[in-house]
Structures are given as C-alpha cells and as structure tokens.
C-alpha cells in the first residue's frame, strides 16, 4: 500500500517567452509526478531536459524574467495543504494573434509577491533545496555556521543564538564534517567542495523539511567525493527517512538512492516507474531513451572488451520547435517500420505498460 503523496505535480508546464524568437521555450511541458512520504524520486535526463526547471518551479523560484507556469503542484503534510501554483496565472496576460502568442505581459512584482505569499512557510521550512555547485551556493563572505544558524532561527522554534549554534554543530557532525566545532566558524572558501556540499545538506536538513529537493548534488565534485556524498545521502535517507526529489544526470547516483525514477526528455517524462524496473539491465520494456542512457554508462564489459562507449546520437530536443510526433523520434534507434508513421505524426502519451510502470513509446502500445 502506497503512502499518500506528499508532493503531487500535475501537468506542470513552465515556459519561457523568447522575444527574439516570438515563441515559447517549453522547458517543462506537461510533467506529472508524485512523491510519496519517505520515498526518493530520482529524476534523470540529459542537460536541458527540464529537470532543474521542474525543481525550481516547485520552489517557486521561476520568478524574474518571462517565465510562465501552469498546472498544479499539490503539497500536503499534516499541517498544510496547498497548491503551490495558486493564482499565479492572474499575473500574466498573453497577447494572441492568429493563434500565435505575440507577447507576454507579466506583472513581475505581483507574480513574485504571490509566489512569496504562497511559498511562505514552505520554502526552507517544508521544502528545502540543495543546489549543484555548493561553493557558489554559500555566501562567501560569512561563516558557514552563521548561515546554518540563520536558517535554524528562521524556521524552527530555536531562537536563542547559542542553542541554534549547538543545533548547527549537531547537524554538521550529522553530515560527517570532522571537527564541526572548528568548521562552523570557517568561511566557505576554507572548505573543500565536498565539505561545502555537506554544509549545504546540513543547512537544508537543519530545519527538518518534509521534502528535500537535491538538484544535481554531486555535480562539480570529483569522483571520490561524489561517491562519499552519495553514501551520505543514502545514510541520511535510511536514518531520517527524508522524502527526497533527487535530480541528476548520473544514473549511478540515481540507482543507489531512488525508489522510483522518472526519466525526462525534452520537457516531458518519457518513462516513470519503480527504480528496479527502469534501471534493470535488461532491454525489455523500456523507453528507447532510457535504454540508450543506460547503455552510455561504462561497464566492466565495455572496459574489458575495449569497446567504445555508446553515445546517444544527435542533440537534445530544441524546446522551441517541438515536433508533432514523438519527441525522441529523431534520435531513436528502435523505430520499427510498423510504428514509424505513428512515431512521426503523433506524440505518444504516458501509458502504463506493466503495473506501476509507465512509458511514452509506441513500441509498447497495441
């Protein structure tokens, strides 16, 4: 029996209006995801497939600029229950001409105010986020400790500075930073990339959020540190049971931590289901994109046979001119003659191909 979902994204569309192209860049184009309490959802895909924008949309951080969001993001805990995208549409006016969008009039201030109102009490407190490039995510001119303490004082009942400091030290040791009592007074430049990421994790977890969004937490770290951070996340997951949305293009990280996996391509989810089904090494019943991604991971077999690694041909989908048919059609190597026409003309929907396992591919539809 599955838990009730903590976060339920329904048909999320995040578009950016490009003035020069007079068109929308459809970064996220109809994504529906669910994260149950205590579960880790891995979101995997190439750069530019809309993973990070999905996360930022959840955080309400697609603020400035010509971003337009529609859809519904339901967020439900014991205490709160809200749609994180409530009323955002009121602040955007679209100018239509002959079915083409000619302009976007966005009330940026009102939009941000609205996002701020809806997200207050959620950002940081209920949903925390870890970013890629941890060194840049910490304020370089103040100590790590003061940043964690600030978050603790803001979001938890601990208001006393000394107690908050003790709490910060506790969390720093929890994320396995050695000598946390010394490190808490370090500036970010004095910490290595891995330690900065640990500090970021400590800062995110210190307010005991219901949901943790980890946006490529291991990117930009070297390989040994990557695996250590992955270990840490796995450990925290088993100890604290944090609900996590893990975004990465590194399938090994995803496979270690995720309970369920969503594979994204060109702003849509192309395959979604339990991790063991999707990341299993067999080719059976898998979206061609997923299998191509899995094949591009170096394995022992590749190394022994001195084979070339298989890269996916072509480029990531141009999200301005989206083709009528399947988004992956141009790069797909498993198109058969019987379905070729369907692939070219019609976009498949996300259909269940085995219990709990959904894919967006004509191969599996009869």
């Amino acid at each position: 029996m599955k838990n009730a979902p903590l976060l339920k994204i329904e048909d999320l569309r995040t578009y950016f209006y490009s003035k020069s192209k007079q068109a929308f860049i459809r970064s996220v184009d109809g994504v529906s995801l669910e994260i149950a309490r205590g579960e880790t959802l891995g979101v995997v895909g190439e750069s530019g497939s809309g993973k990070s924008i999905t996360a930022l949309s959840v955080m309400g951080l697609v603020g400035g600029g010509p971003g337009v969001i529609s859809g519904k993001i339901g967020f439900k805990t014991e205490k709160t229950r809200k749609n994180l995208l409530q009323d955002l549409d009121d602040h955007v006016k679209l100018a239509w001409d002959n079915g083409k969008i000619m302009g976007v009039d966005k009330d940026v201030v009102g939009w941000e105010k609205n996002a701020g109102r809806v997200m207050s009490g959620v950002r940081g407190k209920e949903i925390a986020m870890i970013f890629q490039n941890p060194k840049a995510s910490l304020n370089p001119f103040t100590t790590v400790g003061s940043q964690i303490t600030e978050a603790i004082q803001l979001h938890t009942d601990i208001k006393d500075p000394l107690q908050a400091r003790e709490r910060a030290i506790h969390w720093l040791s929890r994320v396995k930073i050695d000598t946390p009592r010394l490190r808490i007074d370090n500036y970010p430049y004095g910490l290595s990339g891995g330690m900065c990421q640990r500090a970021m994790i400590a800062m995110a977890l210190a307010c005991e959020p219901s949901l943790l969004i980890a946006d490529e937490p291991t990117t930009g770290l070297d390989a040994t540190i990557q695996s250590k951070i992955t270990d840490l996340l796995a450990e925290l997951k088993s100890e604290l049971g944090v609900t996590t949305m893990l975004i990465s293009h590194d399938i090994s990280v995803i496979s270690r931590l995720s309970d369920s996996v969503a594979v994204m391509y060109g702003g849509t989810v192309v395959e979604y289901g339990p991790a063991r089904d999707i990341l299993a090494s067999t080719l059976e019943s898998k979206h061609p994109y997923t299998s191509a991604l899995l094949e591009s991971i170096p394995t022992e077999r590749h190394i022994k046979a001195k084979e070339h690694l298989r890269a996916i041909e072509g480029d990531v989908l141009d999200t301005v001119n989206i083709p009528a048919g399947c988004r992956f059609y141009a790069r797909c190597n498993r198109v058969t003659d019987t379905i070729r026409e369907k692939c070219e003309r019609h976009e498949p929907d996300l259909r269940e191909i085995s219990p709990g396992h959904r894919a967006r591919c004509w191969l599996y539809f009869d």
Binding site: R123, M129, H155
Partner: protein, 297 residues
C-alpha cells in the same frame, strides 16, 4: 633515527584570531594613520564648534601681518590681515565636516537604493536607472555646481548636495555590478530557497556581507572628494566666502603672497588638505584590506 619535535598547539587555522592579528603591517599602518587624521579632524571640529581656539580666527592684528611661523602667540604665523593661521586652520574644518557627511550620506543612500533596484530587480528598473545615471554622469560636475550656486547662493551645503548627487551614479553602478556578479553565483537563489525574506537577503546577505567594503571605500573617497571640490571652487572664488575660513579659500588668498617668499599662508592649508585626503584614502584602503580584501588570498 632522527627526532622530530612535536610542535604543540593547533596549526594553520587563522580564523579564530581577531582580525588585527591577521592583517598585514602595512594595512595596520594605513589604518592607524587614517584614524589619527580622522581623530584630528573630529577634535578640530569639536574645538571649532565650541570656540576653544588659541585665538579668535577673525581677530585682525595690523601690527603683525604675515608673521612667520613660530612667532610668539602665533604657532603657524599670521595671514595678510594678521589673523592667526592655526585658529583659522582649525575653524576651517567646519566647512567640510558636516557638509562632507551630507555629501557622503546622499551618495551612499541614493546610490545603494538605486543600485539594489537595478541589480536585484533588473528589467525596466535597470534600464531606467542606467539612463538616469548616464544622464547625471554626462553633466560636468563643476558646471552643475556653478549653476546651482548661480541659482541659489554660494553655500557649502548646496555645493555638497550637488557633490553627493553627482556621486550617486558611481555608487549605484558599483552596487549594481556587484549584485549582478553575486547573482551569477547562486547563493542568492539558495537563500531564497531557504525561505529567507527578501529584506534579509538584500540587507544582510548582499549589502552587509558583500558590499560593505565597497561602501567604506566610497565613504572615505567621498570625504576626500568633498574637500577637493571645495578647494577647486574656492580657487574660482565660489567656495566658502571670506571672512569665514576654509582651507580652500585660505590657499587661494595665501597664494598671492607665495612668490614674495611668504609661503606659510598657503602652504599650511595646502598641507592640511593633502594629509587629510591622504588619511581618508589610506583609511579606506587599509580597512578594506583588513576586513575583506585579503580573505580570498
């Protein structure tokens, strides 16, 4: 076998030390000199304000015109009307102290507000503010000041308001640039994701933690600039008007006697200007190095 002696105590971690122990000797010297000058300026201001002077600066003594430095009762000599140079130097700071602060306050306040709006908000704000700052920047400052003097009166406060306003674009563009640079690093986004209120992000994380060195430098430069501007205007005869002493008009009047070998009426205020401006600049420089600059080395 060799014996290695164990050095006791912790190694390498400077972060626990108070900041003055981490600083370079040069910076300490800069700041000490700067603080000395600031103290002198403040003391002179107070002395002048409460009229605690060796002599009355307006007291004309026709018996003792152009007395050289060291004359009994006149440590720095007297000027062409026999007025005491030292007293006039001390009172002269009155012309700069409050007006200078006014100029700095105007430049920093408006500059910061506009800079934050342009850098943090971006979009139309940035375009509008850039046009405005370019407009202000394109006016020759001296001409603007002369216009204001012509329209109102040659008052040091009017002059300093103009000096402050014309410094607004400088501060605004510095702050704007800094914020745009900071926005590329994503800790601001991380702060937002943490749910910090915008007020905290701007005031604490951006301005206090990342822009204070910039503001300190601008403040100290601004004081030096205020003094220099008054001096230039005095030389044109538009500064503080005689008989009220200012260092600028003392130099201007004294310069007429320089070629006759009577150097002190102009040299004393000129040196005062030189050392004061130097003091403010070095103070800003040293403070910046001590508080911020060396951190990333």
């Amino acid at each position: 076998m060799k014996n290695y002696t164990q050095i006791s105590g912790e190694i390498g971690d400077l972060s626990g030390l108070p900041f003055w122990k981490k600083a370079d000797a040069v910076d300490i010297a800069y700041v000490s000199y700067g603080l000395l000058i600031v103290t002198l300026v403040v003391v002179s201001y107070i002395l002048g304000a409460f009229n605690l002077l060796p002599r009355d600066p307006q007291d004309i003594d026709l018996e003792l015109m152009m007395a050289p430095p060291g004359t009994v009762g006149h440590l720095l000599g007297t000027d062409y009307m026999g007025r005491d140079m030292l007293s006039r130097l001390i009172v002269g700071i009155q012309a700069y102290f409050l007006p200078g602060f006014l100029a700095i306050a105007i430049a920093l306040t408006f500059g910061t507000v506009l800079g934050v709006l342009a850098g943090y908000r971006g979009g139309r704000f940035e375009t509008a503010i850039t046009y405005f700052t370019n407009l202000v920047d394109s006016f020759p400052r001296l001409v603007l000041i002369l216009l204001v003097i012509a329209a109102f009166k040659p008052d040091i406060y009017y002059i300093m308001i103009v000096v402050g306003l014309t410094n607004v674009p400088v501060v605004a563009s510095l702050i704007k640039g800094k914020i745009q640079f900071l926005k590329q690093k994503n800790f601001i986004e991380a702060d937002m994701a943490l749910g910090l209120p915008t007020r905290t992000i701007i005031l604490k994380h951006i301005l206090w933690h990342n822009c204070r060195s910039l503001l300190i430098i601008q403040a100290t430069l601004g004081m030096g600039e205020a003094i220099l501007m008054e001096t230039s205007l005095s030389y044109l005869g538009f500064g503080v008007q005689e008989p009220t002493p200012s260092w600028g008009n003392m130099v201007q009047v004294g310069a007429n006697y320089f070629m006759q070998g009577k150097f002190w009426p102009s040299t004393a205020p000129a040196l005062a200007i030189l050392f004061t401006i130097l003091g403010f600049h070095l103070l800003g420089d040293g403070l910046n190095n001590i508080l911020e600059g060396k951190r990333n080395r």
